[in-house]
């Protein structure tokens, strides 16, 4: 795989909370153990995180409560100063820039959406969405025009003059989203944006989010503790536990090749047919075999199942160029649905 400059590059990021955290890491560059930290009365919220986030991808960080997700994403925007490590934002060393440059960068290149919306209670919807432009000194007419556009984008037209407390949770988060998009950020951080919402609304908001990303193609860091949400949205997922990233990969990778029992535990209850695609379940072609029809390699198992399960058909799997790269049949689909290890198509 070729490696263009990642949008965000993290190397060896540590965040240790507690008194004397800064002096704690420096003397030895080795990794402190739990016992070391305990003795010093410190909490390692992020341990040695290494990540590359590519332009235009939806990168989901997933882990249970207290695993350090929020801390990690706040390190990425320097809301929290990492204890050690290196962060490159578009190749630029984020930790070395001055306070002023940081403010500029946040004003123009970063957007963030918060779990509890963080709307300003004293401003109307319009005022909230225009706020980031207001503090940049954009004049009233221009910023309100832009704000109206954003409000329309998230489907809240007509509510410009409402106050946050007059809106439902889902509507409030739409305002949060519109607000964070008003400055056209290059990178978009979302810290559990839908966790405070009811399940039905959450689903609706996920669809909305995917629709927006289809239009905007931002680089996205999305935090969640809900694995279903992660696989619905993610291009790639990083799983965190106790401050450490224990696996990074595409949703399918995590399901098929969990790095640890912990990851396997997460993926166990996931409906595999929704995640796995034809490519992952096909078997090699037997030369001279008869194929009834073909389908694209990215088709999800769930969508091809009813075409196969009650028949004896053999369906060819084709890649982007239209050449046949494998075959799916009843047996391979049943394996997935029942949870047997699917055949590997090497």
């Amino acid at each position: 795989m070729s490696t263009p400059t990642p949008a965000l590059h993290l190397r060896g990021i540590w965040k240790i909370f507690g008194e004397g955290a800064n002096s704690f890491l420096k003397p030895s560059d080795t990794h402190p153990t739990d016992a070391d930290l305990n003795r010093a009365g410190l909490i390692a919220a992020v341990r040695d995180a290494n990540l590359d986030i590519q332009h235009g991808e939806i990168f989901v960080i997933m882990g249970l409560s207290g695993s350090g997700k929020s801390t990690l994403v706040r390190c990425m925007s320097r809301l929290i100063e990492p204890t050690a490590g290196e962060i490159l934002f578009d190749g630029q060393n984020l930790l070395a820039i001055s306070e002023k440059e940081l403010i500029e960068m946040r004003r123009h290149k970063m957007g963030m959406v918060f779990q509890h919306f963080a709307l300003l209670p004293h401003l109307s919807v319009l005022g909230n969405v225009a706020f980031p432009l207001e503090i940049q000194g954009v004049d009233r007419g221009a910023r309100e025009q832009r704000a109206r556009d954003m409000i329309e984008l998230v489907g809240l037209s007509g509510r410009e003059d409402y106050y946050p407390r007059e809106l439902s949770g889902g509507q409030q988060q739409r305002v949060g989203i519109a607000r964070s998009l008003a400055v056209e950020p290059e990178i978009w951080f979302l810290d559990e944006p839908f966790s405070a919402l009811d399940p039905l609304i959450r689903r609706e908001m996920q669809d909305e989010f995917l629709r927006l990303q289809g239009l905007l193609h931002k680089t996205i860091v999305f935090i969640t503790h809900d694995f279903d949400e992660a696989i619905r949205l993610a291009d790639r997922i990083a799983i965190m536990k106790d401050g450490a990233i224990i696996q990074t990969g595409a949703p399918e990778d995590l399901i098929l090749n969990p790095a640890t029992d912990y990851v396997a535990e997460f993926t166990r209850d996931v409906s595999r047919s929704k995640v796995l695609s034809a490519r992952m379940v096909m078997r090699p072609v037997v030369p001279g075999e008869h194929l009834d029809e073909t389908l694209a390699y990215s088709t999800k198992v769930q969508d091809l199942a009813d075409r196969i399960v009650h028949t004896e058909r053999q369906i060819g799997v084709i890649d982007d160029d239209g050449s046949i790269i494998g075959v799916v049949d009843r047996q391979s689909v049943l394996d997935v649905l029942v949870g047997n290890e699917p055949p590997r198509a090497d």
Binding site: R106, A118, H122, I135, Y163, F189
Partner: protein, 667 residues
């Protein structure tokens, strides 16, 4: 509840505590009967007294007379501060009360008369209507009409003009200090004990130094008012900035706010509601100071009350006192209405210039029209004396009548309580050897909070002894103690009733709210009317002034008892009175004790004022110091009162925290 290691469950007071206590009691009795052996244990010897008050007086003298800051002396500095403050104050005073002369010579002819009374009534009425509605407008207009009809207008405007300047200044200073403390923890660490002291040392104690530094007059009075009224604003500012949700701050940073933008556009607006609580406090405390401030030169209503009290002209005092109260109620309700005013929802964006300044325009129009009109109809400018009424004669007669017809009954009550309750307590406290009292304080402190608390209690109590204030302090403790006991015996049952019955609750809330808006001095008037001077009269005033928190916290404590506990007890078959006595009260007790603590604090601050009706305690000491302009004497006695307050406060808080933790209630 399973006892966790390290935090023992509810425990009985251990044997050793009672053993030592009994030992001390015996020792105390022994000392009493053998005073010749070790007299210094019973009475703090005169030779041991630390002449702290003289040191302080000398230091003050040096500060005022000799301290030189290089370019100018300290006194020049303070006098120029007064000069600076004089400006806004005299403009406000000219505008509201005396009119502008544009000349400093006394007796110069008035060029622009003060704002016509009709204009002030109209403006305040309109403001009330704008902020809240018709009801408040009627209340406010009514209050101001009282001032006009009862001949209080001029004095009230003098008072109002100092409030109008003192409050914004106090708010701004408190706000700036609060923000600085919020941003710099080290500064906060220094500031907190100073604030504690400012709020526990009685006002009288610092009137003298203020007098020395700033001279006699309205400016000095205003400075004293600000010293008294600002600390809560500082605390409220720190607290309300801390309460702004972390996420909002993070959002502000992510949006790229500078520090100033964060403060102006996020923190202050988000904290606005609680900041306004601080503003309201400043207003109320400033009004509370009105009478006291008149002792160092504030004129106005405070002066009227004070001089009538001194002349025992009850009727006049009552009317002026009522005027202060009405002013307090008006300003209180107005500031609350300002806080709670509905934010206009769906309001059109970008209001026109006229729309935005509409209110100020109206005010200007009213003022100029009425100024103009009052040239031709003077009755519109100055309320005509022929229309004024007074009820003072009626009150004086009433008092006379009561005293003629009920003298024996009132006297009987007074004597009964004095002889059977107050005197024994007083004698007990005065007789108990000081060493024993200090030791008991240490013992209780140790039981509650181990060495630190014990050391604090012993140190503060010893300070009182060492400055030669022991017996006066014991009189303070006795007066305070008896008053608080009465307040608790009256207040807690009322609270219990109110908690159980929503109608009683509503009535009680109104009564408490009113009680708390009354300036402390006002309580003296009816008491003096009926019982003249002395400990009993003082006690009644203290009870009336300090009872509100006992009621309020009792209601709160009982309402905070978790519902599931009450349901569980009913399910077990408890009767209603069993639930009340076995479940609600024990669990509410820590909260009730916090209320009692507040009652003690208020009682102590009131006690200083009751020195005016002739108590012989620390309050009197402070008051004498004030009349003799003796800085050291006043400050030392004031710190003595603060010591008592701090001991009571720390001990009760510690006890309450401990209990709450045992019950698993939020601390």
């Amino acid at each position: 509840m399973a006892a966790r290691p390290g935090s023992p469950g509810p425990t009985q007071t251990p044997i050793w505590f009672w053993a030592i206590f009994a030992g001390l009691a015996t020792l105390g009795i022994a000392l009493l009967f053998s005073q010749d052996h070790a007299p210094y244990l019973s009475k703090y010897p005169r030779d041991w007294i630390i002449p702290l008050r003289f040191w302080i007086s000398d230091a003050m003298y040096w500060l005022v007379k000799e301290f030189d800051l290089g370019l100018f002396t300290f006194k020049e500095l303070t006098r120029s501060i007064s000069w600076l403050l004089e400006w806004p104050l005299s403009i406000a005073n000219n505008f509201l009360a005396t009119g502008f002369t544009f000349s400093t010579e006394p007796g110069a002819s008035v060029i622009l008369p003060p704002a016509p009374w009709i204009a002030i009534v109209a403006i305040f009425g309109l403001l009330a209507f704008h902020l809240s509605g018709l009801r408040l407008a009627i209340l406010v207009t009514g209050c101001f009409l009282y001032l006009a009809f009862f001949g209080q207008w001029h004095s009230a405007m003098i008072t109002l003009s100092s409030i109008v300047i003192a409050v914004p200044l106090g708010v701004i200073i408190g706000f700036v200090l609060g923000i600085t403390a919020y941003r710099h923890p080290l500064f906060e660490k220094w500031l907190t004990p100073i604030l504690d002291l400012m709020q526990t040392v009685p006002v009288f104690a610092y009137l003298v130094p203020v007098l020395f530094l700033f001279g006699f007059g309205p400016v000095a009075a205003m400075i004293a008012t600000m010293i008294y009224a600002t600390p809560p604003m500082v605390r409220v500012t720190i607290l309300s900035l801390r309460q702004v949700p972390e996420e909002l701050l993070e959002y502000g940073n992510m949006a790229g706010c500078t520090r100033g933008q964060l403060l102006r556009k996020i923190q202050i607006p988000a904290a606005r509601k609680s900041l306004m609580v601080g503003v309201n406090q400043v207003i109320m405390l400033s009004l509370n100071m009105v009478i006291i401030a008149s002792m160092i030169g504030a004129g106005g209503l405070g002066f009227d009350v004070l001089s009538s009290l001194r002349r025992l002209a009850i009727g006049n005092g009552l009317e002026a006192g009522l005027a202060i109260t009405l002013l307090a109620i008006t300003l209180d309700r107005l500031s609350q209405a300002f806080t709670d005013r509905p934010q206009h929802s769906h309001s059109p964006q970008g209001r026109s210039v006229i729309g935005r300044y509409r209110l100020s325009l109206i005010v200007l129009v009213i003022l100029s029209v009425s100024w103009f009109a009052s040239r031709y109809f003077p009755a519109l400018g100055v309320f005509p004396e022929s229309l004024q009424i007074t009820t003072s004669q009626f009150w004086d007669n009433l008092v006379k009548w009561i005293n003629v017809n009920f003298f024996d009954q009132l006297e009987a009550i007074k004597t009964f309580v004095l002889i059977n309750i107050m005197m024994p307590v007083k004698r007990f406290l005065l007789k108990t050897p000081w060493v024993i009292v200090v030791a008991v304080i240490g013992l209780i402190g140790y039981r509650l909070g181990h060495l630190r608390l014990a050391a604090l209690g012993v140190a503060l109590a010893t300070f009182i002894a060492a400055t030669g204030l022991w017996s006066k302090a014991m009189v303070t403790v006795y007066l305070c103690g008896v008053s608080v006991l009465f307040a608790a015996f009256i207040g807690v049952p009322i609270g219990i009733l109110a908690a159980a019955n929503s109608r009683i609750n509503r009535i009680t809330q109104v009564v408490i709210d009113t009680l708390q808006t009354l300036p402390s001095f006002v309580y003296l008037i009816p008491v003096v009317m009926l019982f003249r001077v002395g400990d009993f009269a003082a006690m009644l005033a203290v009870i009336a002034y300090s009872i509100a928190p006992a009621i309020r916290y009792t209601i709160l404590g009982i309402q905070q008892v978790p519902v599931h506990l009450i349901e569980a007890s009913s399910a077990m078959g408890c009767t209603r009175s069993q639930i009340r006595w076995r479940v609600q009260l024990p669990i509410a007790l820590p909260q009730i004790m916090l209320g009692i603590n507040q009652t003690i604090m208020m009682a102590l601050s009131m006690l200083v004022i009751t020195a005016l009706v002739g108590t012989r305690d620390l309050g009197q000491e402070v008051y004498i110091a004030l009349t003799k302009a003796d800085t050291g004497r006043g400050i030392v006695a004031g710190i003595g009162v603060a010591c008592i307050a701090i001991i009571a406060d720390r001990f009760i808080n510690q006890w309450s925290r401990k209990k709450k933790r045992e019950f698993g209630l939020p601390v």
